[in-house]
């Protein structure tokens, strides 16, 4: 082998190009996996565009013969979720009403926390961060019962308020409850993201601004915020995906018409009554996946960065 001769080997690229046979194997394996990865999605889309007769009678890999969007219309507008048959559109809006404030609040709090934990260190800051970090990983089963009790109490307060003033001030509102839950259990992640990002931000700039008399919030607003666009995008995407896709909290704390999209989808798909309409189920599943898939397609780079930041801790 020529590599034995250092004079020949030196100019070679770090990872040498393999001969064509191994190239074929590499591309072949990668393509097989790509097909495996795309197949469930492709089958899902095709099934949603077929009439029922084609699904039960035909092959799932066959292209739709009589292309129809009826299943989509039915999933959105008229399919039965539990006892009400008004489609999944209401649940889609439930999810949006829950996601937007929850993402906004948890991200802003995370930014402030990250700022304090990196630039205004105090005795015990590591302990505080450690406790917040571990909170990211707890199994939510271990807080589910107390949360249900507390939310039940809030609902009781809301009822009393309504009796007294005619308005519940958001107490006991299922969407408000889910916002609270998602803010609390998302705080660890958002704080972690911003802390790691601000840790790399030059502290000299903060010191200089302090000497010039800038206040705590001025430094945050004028110096850190304008330089935080990438981490804001990463955090917002991460939180959006996580909260939109949540099922455990949604199914425990928001029943019936207040349920978020994922819970409604599970109700549509796993009802035991009547004929299973696979095309409607698949259309509903794609609608439920659409917002997060859209974000992934538009901002995939930031999405992956968020995943990695959430994995490589500390």
């Amino acid at each position: 082998m020529s590599a034995l001769n250092p004079a020949n080997a030196a100019p070679m690229p770090a990872r040498r190009r393999s001969p064509w046979r191994s190239r074929v194997v590499i591309y072949g394996l990668l393509l097989i996996f790509a097909v495996l990865y795309l197949m469930p999605l492709v089958v899902m889309v095709m099934t949603s565009l077929k009439p029922m007769s084609e699904i039960t009678g035909g092959n799932m890999f066959a292209l739709p013969h009589d292309l129809t969007f009826e299943a989509w219309a039915k999933a959105w507008g008229t399919t039965c979720v539990g006892l009400t048959c008004a489609g999944i559109k209401g649940y889609f809006w439930n999810s949006i009403k829950m996601v937007v404030p929850a993402v906004f609040i948890s991200t802003m709090l995370g930014a402030l926390n990250g700022y304090v934990l990196t630039k205004w260190r105090f005795a015990g800051h590591r302990m505080v961060f450690g406790l917040m970090l571990f909170a990211c990983f707890i199994p939510y089963q271990s807080v589910l019962i107390p949360m249900a009790v507390i939310l039940g109490k809030l609902g009781y307060i809301g009822m009393n308020l309504k009796d007294m003033t005619g308005y519940s001030f958001g107490f006991g509102n299922a969407t408000a409850n889910l916002v609270l839950v998602h803010v609390v259990y998302g705080l660890g992640f958002t704080t972690l993201f911003f802390r790691n990002y601000y840790a790399a931000f030059p502290t000299e700039l903060i010191k200089a601004a302090q000497i010039d008399g800038a206040s705590f919030f001025q430094i945050f607003r004028r110096i850190l915020l304008p330089n935080s666009a990438p981490i804001f995008i990463v955090t917002v995407i991460y939180q959006f995906t996580n909260i939109w896709n949540d099922f455990l909290f949604g199914s425990t704390f928001a029943a019936g018409d207040n349920a978020p999209m994922t819970v409604a989808l599970n109700n549509v798909v796993n009802t035991s009554t009547g004929v299973i309409e696979y095309n409607v189920n698949m259309a509903a599943a794609i609608i439920a996946a659409a917002p997060t898939l859209f974000v992934y397609i538009v901002a995939g780079r930031y999405f992956v960065r968020g995943l990695m930041a959430g994995a490589v801790k500390g």
Partner: protein, 314 residues
Amino acid sequence: MTATAVPAAAPMRARVTLRQRLQDALPKLVLAPSFLLILVFVYGFIGWTFLLSLTNSKAFSNFNFIGWGNYLKLWTWTFETDPPSNWYTAIVNMGLFGGLYVVCCLIIGLGLAILLDQKIRGEGVLRPIYLYPLALSFIVTGTAWKLFLNPRIGLEKAMHDLGWTSFHFDWVVNPRMMIYCVAIAAIWGSAGFVMALFLAGLRGIDGEILKAAQIDGASTFQTYRRIIIPMLRPVFLSAMIILINMALKSYDLVLSVTGNNPGGAAELPSTFMYSYTFTRDQMAVGSASAIMMMMTIAAVMVPYLYSELREKSR
């Protein structure tokens, strides 16, 4: 300065120190609400759940303490194999599912990362394909795989249509095999993430080291086995910890792949906790199982996070 300024300065200084003190406390005041939320809603609630696990709570929580009875119950159920108790099924399934999930994700993830790292064309197209399942909620993933593996309209039917009539695959409706289908869907959902972790690790390896190995005459296989994979040990550790954490918390996927876990065939500790707490009116047993989950995760995560944090601060 003249002496006349001195009396004027004295009250000013007092005002400055007051404002200064506020300014000093401000960072802590900003962090305090978030930290308090986490202390109460995470650690306080875990404590509350622990207290409940020592009571005889049924449908509603009470505080009639009975000691360790619920944990003893779980302990005896662990060995109750004939007929298997739900807890026994949950633990066996957790081992099967968790083991398959962690091992397969690591193998597929590392394999894909190495293949993608061979200076191939089209990496920008392939990588997003392996990663998109991460944007989907587990309910959507489960719905897709449930259809895909359905023997009447899915894979088995498609294979029969192609002429392979002896092909038989009904795991998704076979109570004894359901958990493997959950594992397939879960591996499909997470292997791309592990790939991204390994790819980042591979890209971080110094090309000089590889060049030196080549000069010494090492083959590609040897270079990977002896040099690159050992250098990826920290990535292995992170990936494994994250995967174990995700496996222990799996919940939504079980429900959606199996159709709400009929007869508890695909029981996991998470579904066990939910059904005992909210449908079987044995809240205390549910709490005890939640605490068992919590302890398992803590045993994995605390040493890991501790070492990560300590490394960082060095």
